[in-house]
């Protein structure tokens, strides 16, 4: 066990302390933190209501209607009455100027402002309607109440009705997408590490004192810790930025279960995919040949990702969905997606985790054999069958 740990520690240190890694993490953290510091004034600036000047003499009667229209549209404008100058102009720090007559006002703007234009239009029409109702002897307030109540109710019918939850979809999608990228990135780091040892021939010294499976296991563990630190280096500043910008309160989906899912399936998916890729990487001898093995594997990895994105929202209770949930290479994507939709039973999650846990030693054994059989072979690419035969 201590040998695995020694190997893992070296991998972790080499990856984490490499200049390229430190610089890229530093840049990412700086961009997120500095970006949020810069963005803060802009984001909060939007909340300050803009002032619109209204000429008291000609358009003062419009102000209540303007206020009502702005509120109805959830737009933050303050309508301030002034005595407009003879030559109409938009004063500094204001959004516009409204000059009468009240039944056909003129809105002066510096630039296009569709919201304000709409508000003024609605307010003018309301004012005209109220005037007309009053002229006919009616009560404008009653008319307004009646109008407000005249809203249709929309009800969806049919199979899809109400099932598609876009919030759940995006939450699940975000989790499996992060997972996908972390797994792709870690797998390529593992593959490069395996081929580096092969290409530099240091592997022969290592194998004289360490079992192939131990070497591969230590590598996977070390790169796993590295991937965790990398992810934390991005998630922690991102959460800080979200908190600082006040975005956390707006997040309506419960974060806890999502993050738990991410953590559990990160560990399981990581073990499954990186062990597998690490074994396969031993088939090639040079960095430039990695593509021959990694490209088809990465493409294959997209299959569970896309199936999860497609199957879970469209067919949450289908047989394919239920079966694939229990297949090790699919589970890391299927389970978090189904969990986000709330369409998975507790026993299904437990079973999927159990099957993955049982598969990992088997997969490690197979990958270890491929690795052992291929790792001392130099020259061209080795066939999988030959590697298995030789170990």
């Amino acid at each position: 066990m201590s040998t695995v740990w020694l190997i893992a520690r070296r991998e972790f240190r080499v990856r984490t302390l490499s200049k390229a890694s430190l610089i890229s993490s530093g840049i990412m953290i700086a961009i997120i933190v500095i970006g949020s510091l810069i963005a803060k004034p802009f984001l909060t600036g939007d909340d300050e209501p803009a002032t619109v000047q209204v000429d008291t003499a000609t358009a003062g009667d419009l102000v209540p209607y303007l206020d009502a229209a702005a509120e109805a549209q959830d737009a933050a404008y303050v309508f301030a009455e002034i005595d407009a100058p003879a030559e109409p102009a938009v004063a500094e720090d204001t959004a516009g100027l409204v000059v009468g007559p009240a039944d056909a006002p003129t809105l002066y703007l510096d630039g296009g402002d569709e919201t304000l234009t709409g508000i003024v239009q609605v307010a003018t029409q309301q004012a005209a309607l109220s005037a007309a109702v009053e002229d006919l002897g009616g009560d404008p307030t009653e008319v307004a109440t009646a109008l407000a109540g005249a809203v249709p109710t929309v009800q969806m019918l049919g199979d899809d009705a109400g099932d598609f939850d876009s919030g759940a979809f995006f939450a699940g999608f975000a989790v499996i997408f992060i997972l996908f990228f972390v797994l792709i990135q870690s797998s390529s780091v593992i593959m490069m590490g395996v081929v580096e040892e092969k290409a530099s021939r240091v592997v022969e010294i290592l194998l004289a004192t360490v079992r192939p499976a131990t070497l591969l296991g230590g590598k996977v563990l070390g790169v796993g810790l590295y991937a965790l630190v990398q992810a934390a280096a991005m998630v922690v500043p991102a959460v800080f930025a979200a908190w600082y910008l006040g975005l956390l309160e707006q997040f309506e989906i419960p974060l806890g279960p999502l993050l738990t899912n991410l953590a559990v399936w990160f560990v399981l998916g990581f073990a499954i995919f990186t062990v597998f890729f690490g074994g396969l990487a031993a088939l090639v001898s040079r960095q430039e040949d990695i593509g021959a093995v990694s490209t088809p594997m990465m493409l294959l990895m997209m299959v569970p990702l896309y199936l999860s994105i497609y199957l879970v929202p469209n067919n949450p209770d289908g047989a394919a969905t239920a079966v694939l949930t229990q297949v090790p290479f699919f589970a890391p994507f299927m389970v978090p997606m189904r969990a986000a939709f709330g369409t998975i039973a507790g026993w299904e999650i437990a079973l999927a985790i159990g099957i993955c846990l049982a598969t990992i030693p088997l997969l490690t054994w197979i990958a270890g054999r491929v690795y052992a059989g291929a790792v001392l072979n130099t020259g061209g690419r080795m066939k999988l069958r030959d590697a298995l035969a030789r170990s």
Binding site: S200, V202, V203, E204, I205, A208, T209, T378
Partner: protein, 299 residues
């Protein structure tokens, strides 16, 4: 003294028989030279000793116990294809390798300091291996084989690519290790070096051990040859028993059944003219090796 015994090793790569019933023993404190043409099976034998390859048949025992992973961790190994992490610093790398062999952190650091000092790369401890000269990389490679205080040394072509100074350093280290009681086995194409350094030699050809023993044992021949130089008239040897041939002007090769017959030949020569030298010619390792290789060619 612990012996390293190689018993009846056989290994095939598909159709190719790389090793065919190879057996030899390296005693504790002994320098064993492993000689043979390229592809004769030296590297395969060493890889099997280290457990990097698996033999089809045969065993390797050390101290009369099978060489398992735990025992192999006490071997110092220098593979034919040199290999270290190119972008790892010399010191860190040696400590890492020492710890993989089971040393504690403190012992590993001390051993690293000792061996970088002895091998003259102490000032390079904080340099990445890929930035070292080839000669210094070789020294670090040797340090990596020694850093865990091995109880057996297996070195594949340790002298290849070394300058004369480094060859002396390497030779000195190997002698010291043998003097500690460590069985040392190394392969080399530099036969004079093997002859000078080794207690015993094994010659492999096409996967078979064709000759092994001490240098003296190997050089002993059934029909000894003497070389005689001098100024002698033609036909001086007509009366001599045995075969006398003129190898070059003024140099004769005398093949005699024993020392007495040789002395008789010398007496005839002295009677006939002037003899400037007379000595028994024993084949060098190089000549023995040539003999083995020519058998291989004619076979």
């Amino acid at each position: 003294m612990p012996d390293l015994r190689i018993d009846h090793l056989t290994k095939s790569y598909g159709e190719l028989r790389a090793l065919d019933d190879v057996s030899f023993t390296v005693r504790g404190g002994e320098l064993f030279g492993f000689v043979g043409s390229n592809g004769a099976g030296k590297t395969t034998t060493m890889r099997i000793i280290l457990g990097v390859l698996r033999a089809d048949a045969g065993t390797v025992t050390w101290n009369e116990a099978p060489l398992d992973l735990e025992a192999r961790r006490r071997i110092g190994y220098m593979p034919e294809e040199r290999g270290l992490y190119p972008r790892m610093k010399v010191g860190e790398q040696l400590i890492y390798l020492a710890r993989l062999h089971g040393l504690s952190a403190a012992d590993a650091a001390a051993a690293m300091e000792h061996w970088t000092e002895v091998l003259g790369v102490a000032e390079r401890r904080d340099t990445e291996v890929e930035k070292l000269s080839l000669g210094n990389q070789q020294r670090v490679q040797l340090a990596s084989a020694l850093v865990h205080g091995p109880e057996v040394l297996v070195l594949d072509e340790p002298f290849s690519g070394l300058d004369p100074v480094a060859v002396e350093v390497m030779s000195g280290v190997l002698r010291e290790q043998a003097a500690r009681g460590v069985p040392v086995i190394f392969s080399s194409h530099q036969l004079e070096l093997v002859e000078r350094l080794c207690d015993r030699v094994g010659i492999v050809r096409a996967g078979r051990m064709v000759a092994q023993g001490t240098i003296d044992e190997l050089r002993a021949t059934e029909r000894p040859v003497w070389e005689l130089t001098g100024s002698l008239p033609a036909g001086w040897a007509d009366a001599v028993a045995g075969s006398v041939t003129e190898a070059s002007p003024g140099v004769w090769r005398v093949e005699a059944a024993d020392a007495a017959a040789a002395q008789a030949a010398l007496a005839s020569a002295v009677k006939a003219g002037t003899v400037t030298s007379f000595a028994e010619v024993r084949p060098t390792l190089s000549e023995l090796f040539q003999g083995v290789v020519s058998e291989e060619v004619s076979a």
